[in-house]
Structure formats: C-alpha cells, structure tokens
C-alpha cells in the first residue's frame, strides 16, 4: 500500500525540484548577463561595439582595451591608466580593513567580557554610527583631517574608513563574543593571562568565522567607496573608484567603451576575489550562532 504513494511523492518531488532549478537558472542568467556584456565588450575593438550589437561575441579578439585601461588611459589630466589608483586603493583598503577589524574585535571583547557601567549605552552609541549617512559627516571630517594635517592623504582616508567601519565591526564582534563562553575568560584569568594575552591567545584564534565576515564586509565597503575618496583624496591618494569615474565620464575625445568595460572589471576584481576565496566562510559566519551546532 505504501509503495505506490511514496513513488508518487518522489515524482512530485522531482517535478518541483526541476521547476526550482529552471527558475534558479533563469535568475542566474539574468544576474550574469551584465558581467557577460562587460567581458565580451572589453575584448572587442571599439569599431565592433559601434556596430551596435552589445551581446554578440567578439569577431576579433583583443586585449588592448585592458592594457589601455591599466596603464595608458587618460584619467583626468594625466594618461597614467588605472594602475596608480589601483595601488592607492590597495594602500588604503588593506590597512583600513585590518585596523577596523582589529579594533572591532577589541571592542567586542571589552563590551562582552569586561563589562562596565554603561557598556550598553556605549554600544548603542557605536551602533548609531552605522546609521549616520556619509554626507552628514563630510564637512566635519574635512575639518578634522585638515587639523590633523592628513587632508588629501591615504592615511587620512584610512582614518575616515576606520572611524566609519568601527560601528559595524564592533556590532559583528560583540554579537559573536556574546555567545563565547565567559568561563573561558575566567579560566584564562586564573591561569594568569593578561587582558591582551586572553585576547590574542584565547579569543582571536576562535574568531575565524566572524573575522572573515568582517573582512569581506569592510573590504567591499571601503574598496567600493566613492564619496570619501572623491571628497578627501587628491591626485596622489584617490582610490580606484574615483579614477574609474574620471575615466568613464571624461567629456573630451571619443568614448572608448571597450576600455571603460575593462576598467570597470579591473575595479571590481579585488572584491570579487575576496568573495570567491572566502565566500564559503562568509555564509557560515553569518549563520554562526543562529542555530545550535
């Protein structure tokens, strides 16, 4: 009796499964289409793009637009390509991500394991930083950077990004450490470990999932930031995003779409790499603590 009914159930199951996969594939195509257009057009000569078919595969394959975008394209007034700005972005993003993540971890540690009077208020205020629109802070930030002598420097941009990221990184780490057993900290205290020894030796080695989440979050935000880069960077410190804008929106000369596409992909590449390398941990980290493992 039970045999036919279970057969039926698997059939229905297969059917729904098939439908789900069709829908998923359609969505995947939909989302991949822009990337396809960018890649295809970045390896075509400009003349082919002008013919008007953006979706066609290249008749003549060329990597020239990539080299142009990287090293010789006209950015603003100089024909330097995106290369120096790419380096600027790296020099800005890496330290900013590292510092904000580390400080966030330290904040989370203090807010959960070394609680003090009013700690929740402090945390609430730090959370508030997540909701302040960037534009509001522009003028005060410019003033502070000027006073510190950091205006227009990479270090200035690092400072701004660290300050802005702190709310998020603190939130991530606080919530992660809230579920971290306090008895471990007590055991380490009895073992004689100091505040920083507990932090380095006990807490940080157990924080891999949340570190990955924070690094991805911070790196994506800082790398993709345009407003601070455009406002506080000068020629020597402007990040990739600003340079890309200058490349694409230049009003003089011919619009070299193939170069623009190549440049846009170059600009997006590092975040893509970070996601591909650690995406697995990202999902795992977001889910950590949601269910009892």
């Amino acid at each position: 009796m039970s045999q036919p009914s279970s057969d039926n159930a698997t059939q229905v199951n297969r059917l729904t499964r098939g439908l789900i996969y069709i829908v998923l594939v359609l969505f995947a195509i939909y989302y991949l289409l822009p990337l396809y257009v960018m890649i295809v057009n970045s390896v075509k000569p400009l003349s082919e793009i002008r013919e008007g078919n953006m979706l066609a595969l290249p008749k003549e394959f060329t990597l020239d637009p990539w080299f142009t975008a990287w090293s010789t394209a006209q950015i603003g007034v100089q024909a330097t390509g995106l290369k120096p700005y790419f380096i600027n972005s790296i020099l800005m993003a890496v330290p900013a991500v590292a510092i904000s993540t580390l400080l966030g971890a330290l904040n989370g540690f203090v807010l959960t394991k070394w609680r003090f009077r009013g700690d929740n208020l402090v945390f609430g205020l730090m959370l508030l930083a997540c909701f302040i629109p960037f534009q509001i802070a522009l003028i005060p930030a410019a003033r502070i950077l000027g006073m510190l002598g950091l205006a227009g420097t990479t270090r200035g941009l690092i400072l701004i990004h660290v300050a802005y990221g702190l709310g998020f990184t603190t939130l991530f780490f606080r919530n992660y450490y809230a579920a971290f057993p306090t008895e471990l900290v007590k055991a380490a205290q009895i073992d004689g470990a100091s505040f920083f020894q507990i932090f380095w030796r006990i807490l940080l080695p157990s924080s891999a999932p949340i570190i990955v989440v924070t690094v991805i979050w911070q790196f994506t935000n800082i790398w993709n930031d345009f407003l601070f880069g455009a406002s506080f960077g000068d020629f020597k410190s402007q990040p990739m995003t600003v340079a890309l804008n200058n490349l694409v929106s230049s009003s003089s000369g011919v619009k070299e779409y193939n170069v623009h596409f190549a440049g846009a992909i170059l600009a997006a590449l590092p975040t893509l790499v970070v996601y591909i390398v650690s995406g697995r941990y990202f999902v795992r980290g977001l889910m950590a603590g949601a269910v009892k493992g």
Partner: protein, 371 residues
C-alpha cells in the same frame, strides 16, 4: 586556625544582596561542598574565593594569608568549571600547560608536569587532540588535569559533573573523591545535587538566599538539620514533614495528626526535645526520614523508641533495592522506605514502624528546629 577562612562575606550586585554575611571555615585537606538551590549564591561565593568577583564586604584568607583584592592568578587556587572551559584552539597538552606558559615555566619542566598529570588521569593518549575531539568525560578529565598541574593550595570546583550523563557522573564522582584522598588538597566544591554533597564532603554548607543555613559534616546535616529548609533540601526521597499537634500528658509528650479514613494517629514521644513541651496544644512540624519509617521487620533493631501504627498505603513504588510506600498523614504525602520484598499493596492498610530516635521537630512559624 583553619586553613580557608571566610569571614562575614558580603556581595551585592547593584541593589541585590547576593551574599549576606557568610562565615565558613575549612581545615587543611578538607572537602567543603557548597550546596543549595539555584540563585542561592553558592557560585558567587566560589567566584569570590577565586577572585573572579570582587567582594563587597568581609574577608577571605587561605593558609592564614588574606587574599582579598589579589588577582585570581595570585591566590594559589585552581578552578574546574561546569562547562570545562577548555581553550578550543589549543590541544589538550596546550590547555594543561597554558598557565605554566604564561608564568614563564621553561619547556622541559612543562612537559614533565604535563606527563605526570596525564599519567595520573590516564589522558596520555589524548594530549595531541583538540577539546572538540573529546567526549564529555574526557573533557572533564582534562579540565581537572589543568587544575592539578598548578598544584594549588585550594581546588575550586563549580558544578563539574552537571554536564555529564548519569552513569559517568557517578564514576567521576568516585574519581574526584579518590583524587582528593590521594592528594589531600583542600577542595571547595559547588553543586546543587545533594547526593554529590553527601558522598564527597567532609563538610557541607547549605545556602539559601545568600544566607548560610547550616554547616557541618554530612551526618550532622542529614541527621540534625537546623531548620525546615535544610531538612527538606538534603536527602532523597526528601524528609517527611508532617504537621502534628502536640499534647502534654503528665511528664511525657505526644503528637497527633490526621490520618485518612481512620482515627487520628497518636504517637507518644518519650525522647522529645525539651523545647517541645512549650508547644503544648499547638501545631509543629514533625520530621521523619523515609528510612526511619519502615515496615515492622525492617525497623532498626538498635532503635530505642519505635512506635507502630496502621496506615493506608496509597501508592507503592518499587525501586529495586527498596520499595517506597506512600501514605497520607496530616493531609501530606508521606513516604516510607520498606524492604524490597515487603508485603505491601496499594489501597491496603499496613503497620508502619516510626523510629522516633530519628524524629525531629520544627517550629512552623520560624522554620527553626525545636530543641
């Protein structure tokens, strides 16, 4: 002078007084068990000794040296936690050696200490594993090993067995007792399990609402509870606490209580405490342990005052080694502990023997023992 001394210890969290003036002494090599219901302050007391909580008032000394205000690592104590609190990123050997590493003990010495502890606890084959690869009992051993390797003056155990399953718990209990006998180090042990308290302790301290209810040897606590709370808390099944009315007749005292479907139960109490006469005509609480309330043949032959009375048995609970019979006296369920093969049936009457040598009486208003 005693080894571990706690004097008028107070602890407040905000407006809440968690410990309200605790005085306790433990002699060197003693095994003090702090027992009480959740929220009675026993863990706070242990954390105060460890230095993990700052105390609000009073003082604590170990071996004649006052340790108030000292950092936990300076107090010459070691602690075993309920959740074991093993460092998840370190191996078993790393866990055991962490304290020594922090104190800058040279590596060869550390390895020797690890080896000797591992040998004692039979965890030598686990030294390279991570805590996540261990079973509950193995984690417990490692946690004890981490404490042992410090060779402290006092061991602190915070409900170390409550995360283990029932059988393992009994095994580890025996092991802890054996370890204590072998090492002779003073131990303070927190539990809410009164059987653990009875089996392990050389001294039990019963706490409730931040107040010390009674302290003494397990036998003292069990046989001479100072008040209703201690009487009710210690022992399983719990002591029968029956409301009775006291009557003075001539030089003796008798008690009477309501009995289902029968005349009231009246028992003469020849060995009544002198304070009982003052309660003539009033209601008091008559406490008698289940093992002092048995079938006639099972009664203690050395008992001098045994009274017998017929009672209606409501429920029979065979427990293998014993059979428990539940009757009703003074409108309360009363448990009698009978021999396993006692002739007893639910719904029938049977003669129960009351061993009045073991009877205790409490003032229902104050809850204090009548002496």
């Amino acid at each position: 002078m005693s080894f571990l001394q706690i004097r008028n210890l107070e602890k407040t969290f905000g407006n809440v007084k968690v410990l309200k003036g605790i005085d306790l002494d433990v002699e060197e090599g003693g095994f003090l068990v702090l027992v009480g219901p959740s929220g009675c302050g026993k863990s706070t007391l242990l954390n105060s000794i460890a230095g993990l909580e700052a105390i609000t008032g009073g003082s604590i000394s170990i071996g004649g040296k006052v340790i108030d205000g000292l950092h936990p690592s300076q107090r010459d104590i070691a602690m075993v936690f309920q959740s074991y609190a093993l460092y998840p990123n370190m191996t078993v050997a790393g866990n055991i050696a962490f304290g020594m590493e922090i104190r800058g003990v040279p590596k060869p010495e550390r390895e020797k200490a690890i080896a000797s502890v591992a040998d004692m606890l039979q965890i030598g084959h686990l030294l390279d594993r991570k805590p996540s690869q261990l079973s509950g009992g193995q984690r417990q051993r490692v946690a004890i090993g981490r404490a042992l390797v410090r060779n402290p003056q006092v061991f602190l155990f915070d409900e170390p067995l409550s995360n283990l399953d029932a059988k393992l718990r009994v095994d580890m209990r025996t092991e802890i007792k054996r370890l204590h006998q072998r090492m002779g180090t003073t131990i303070v042990y927190v539990t809410h399990d009164q059987i653990e308290a009875m089996t392990l302790a050389t001294k039990i301290a019963v706490l409730k609402d931040g107040l010390l209810q009674q302290s003494g040897t397990p036998a003292e606590i069990y046989n001479n509870p100072a008040n209703l709370f201690v009487a009710d808390f210690m022992g399983s099944p719990a002591m029968n606490l029956i409301p009775v009315t006291i009557a003075k007749n001539g030089s003796g005292v008798s008690l009477s209580t309501h009995r289902e479907e029968q005349e009231p139960l009246v028992l003469g109490v020849p060995n009544a405490p002198s304070g009982l006469a003052a309660h003539n005509g009033k209601e008091v609480i008559f406490g008698i342990r289940p093992e002092a309330l048995t079938d006639r043949d099972g009664a203690d032959r050395n008992a001098t005052n045994v009274a017998e009375s017929e009672c209606l048995i409501e429920v029979v609970e065979p427990a293998g080694s014993d059979t428990f019979a539940v009757t009703r006296l003074g409108r309360k369920h009363v448990t009698a502990r009978l021999r396993a093969d006692a002739n007893v049936a639910a719904g029938k009457r049977m003669k129960l023997a009351f061993n009045l040598d073991k009877a205790v009486f409490f003032d229902p208003a104050s809850g204090q023992r009548i002496v």
